[in-house]
């Protein structure tokens, strides 16, 4: 009978370290699914088919049931899958592999409710392997639970201070119509989609893994070029892929995908330089952002971003949208790796920002977090938004 262990605890209590230690204590190598692509996929494969082939057990004697199917093109590059799809692929590969133990570090938080239920059921039902899991949202019955309590206070946040620093803003109405986009000509992600985002309000993009939620955010910041789209800000045409992003501050799902420099100071100076070209650099002036950074748990501009623990990196990634440089705030899966206290405070902060006139769009599969923020749900499904 395989063991089942859940590692629970607040941020900075050593959850990831404990998962690694438990994995080392298993007699054999352990399949690992980390929170982001670098640690979920092998990095040795150029296609999904190769990733599966790499892990497939050669003797076929594991007797393990297969997890899920891969519904997409097997020749697609695994790194181009959405975060949730990468986790599903990793679980699929594990189910075909000969590994006798599995360690998961917060990765299941990226799954939609249906996939998450299926994944937890798979982990729970099989007795042919050991599992150690850290997850801020799961509490599977019958599992051994190790509660870690002693949290490192080095990265403590001052949420009241953060909310006290919120400035008033008047965000424009963002109207999107006739949006058509696809990564490949024959596979549209959006087809003639339309939606209007109202300021002073939070919007939750809600849909299954791989439905295009992150893609929509990338289009709005100008990183992806739609086949066709009409976007207006307060009625004025807005084409971020041509003129550059000047309205929407995005905190990405993986915080390491948004840094513009190695240190916090370097990152901010480059963003400031970009804003200065439009005469808007004040929002990122040192005397403005330093208190915010301190409130988010990083007291020094010389802090190397990649050296921070994941939960701290995720928090400091919110500095950019919270600084108020842009009137629209977009948070992609903000609660991944965050404990309940942080999620609650984040929800209150988002509400405060909306009350101050900002607009907000967030993507989350965390219903508890979403229910704490007054919001409008936008379903992203069947190539439509609304």
């Amino acid at each position: 009978m395989g063991s089942r262990e859940l590692i629970a605890g607040p941020n900075f209590s050593g959850r990831s370290r404990t998962v690694h230690l438990r994995a080392q204590s298993f007699a054999a190598p352990t399949y690992f699914i980390g929170p982001y692509a670098e640690a979920a996929l092998s990095g040795l494969s150029s296609t999904i088919a190769d990733e599966i082939e790499l892990y497939r057990a050669k003797d076929h004697t594991t007797g393990r049931s297969r997890f899920g199917t891969i519904p997409t093109d097997p020749r697609r590059k695994p790194q181009t899958l959405s975060g949730g799809e990468q986790v599903l692929l990793a679980l699929h590969c594990f189910s075909l592999s000969g590994y006798r133990a599995l360690a998961i570090d917060t990765a299941l938080e990226q799954l939609d409710a249906s996939n998450r239920r299926e994944a937890l059921h798979y982990l729970d039902a099989s007795d042919s392997f050991n599992v150690v899991l850290t997850d801020n949202r799961a509490c599977p019955p019958g599992w051994n639970c190790t509660h870690l309590t002693a949290a490192d206070t080095k990265f403590a946040c001052n949420w009241e201070g953060l909310r006290a620093n919120v400035r008033q803003c008047r965000a424009p109405v963002v109207a999107i119509s006739e949006l058509s986009f696809g990564y490949r000509p024959e596979h549209d992600v959006f087809s003639n989609a339309a939606v209007t985002l109202e300021p002073g309000q939070a919007h939750r993009l809600f849909g299954p893994n791989g439905s295009g939620k992150t893609t929509f955010l990338k289009i709005l910041v100008g990183a992806l070029l739609p086949r066709f789209a009409q976007i207006t800000l307060d009625g004025a045409p807005y084409e971020p892929w041509r003129s550059g992003n000047r309205a929407l501050a995005l905190a990405t799902q993986n915080p390491d995908q948004q840094w513009c420099g190695a240190t916090l100071g370097e990152d901010l100076s480059r963003r400031r330089a970009a804003l200065a070209s439009r005469g808007e650099a004040d929002a990122l002036a040192d005397d403005r952002v330093m208190p915010l950074a301190r409130d988010l748990g990083v007291p020094s501009l010389d802090q190397h971003l990649y050296e921070l623990p994941l939960a701290a990196r995720k928090r400091i990634s919110w500095l950019w949208p919270f600084a108020g440089a842009y009137p629209w705030i977009m948070l992609d899966e903000p609660t991944i790796g965050q404990d309940d206290d942080t999620c609650r405070e984040l929800a209150r902060t988002l509400e405060a920002l909306c009350s101050a006139g900002y607009g907000a769009v967030f993507v989350t599969h965390d219903d508890a977090f979403a229910s704490a923020v007054p919001h409008r749900v936008l379903h992203v499904e069947n190539k439509q938004i609304g």
Partner: protein, 245 residues
């Protein structure tokens, strides 16, 4: 055709192209066209289009430098002759013809195995496992770099540092993109090496996978193609010794 045969053929053609003068190049172009038609069929057009896209900027740059700026061929300069732009144009044409042939034969050979995934191609090679591992790791690094470019591009566009379209801002901040790409690539690789690979012993999975080779030695078509290319290469060397242009 086998992957080993394709690699051997490409090496012979590339070496021959590097030595070839005009007559040799004509022979190699005819040979490559025949190879493309027989082995790849209509898909050869895709390979040729890719070769043109890769070569055009380089050709334009060489014409600008040698014909437009220098105005003489290297041979003229070495012989202290006044030279002419026509000589420079002939020189650039021959160099570009060689390079185009090299790019085209690589693309056509790759197209021949388009149905295989990169891992299947490496698996099918008859080569030492260490060499195959090196192939997989090289491809892995290439994929990581491509992904890093995509991520860094997205990060800098979202932050307003650069724009998606061509702009003066991109010109001034291009170095930031390069730095961000390297930072992203390094952190991706170190993250993988720190967290995933040691726990899983992931690299050890490659050994049985790459050792499982049922690859045939060179097939008959391989031998025919390689022999034909070798004959042309010998002809090129012979022609070189006897002053055939």
């Amino acid at each position: 055709m086998t992957p080993n045969g394709a690699i051997a053929l490409v090496i012979v053609v590339v070496l021959a192209a590097m030595m070839a003068r005009i007559s040799g190049l004509v022979a190699l172009y005819l040979f490559t066209a025949l190879f493309a038609v027989i082995e790849v069929g209509p898909h050869a057009a895709v390979a040729l289009r890719r070769a043109v896209i890769l070569m055009l900027p380089l050709a334009a740059f060489m014409i600008l430098v040698w014909v437009g700026v220098v105005g003489r061929a290297p041979a003229d300069i070495a012989a202290s002759q006044p030279g002419s732009r026509m000589n420079a144009l002939i020189y650039v044409s021959i160099v570009c013809a060689r390079l185009f042939l090299i790019v085209a034969i690589v693309q056509i050979a790759a197209m021949r195995f388009a149905t295989l995934t990169p891992l299947q191609f490496i698996q099918a090679l008859r080569a030492p496992v260490a060499l195959k591992r090196l192939g997989v790791l090289t491809l892995s690094l290439v994929e990581t770099l491509l992904q890093a470019v995509d991520r860094a591009h997205t990060a800098l566009i979202a932050s307003g540092v650069i724009t998606r379209r061509i702009s003066a801002r991109n010109l001034f901040h291009g170095w930031v993109l390069v730095q961000t790409v390297w930072l992203t690539a390094i952190t991706s690789v170190t993250g993988r090496m720190r967290d995933k690979w040691p726990m899983e012993h992931t690299l050890q999975l490659l050994d049985p996978l790459l050792a499982e080779t049922h690859a045939a030695p060179l097939a008959t078509p391989d031998k025919l193609w390689i022999f034909s290319a070798a004959v042309i290469a010998v002809g090129i060397v012979w022609g070189d010794f006897h002053g055939v242009p």
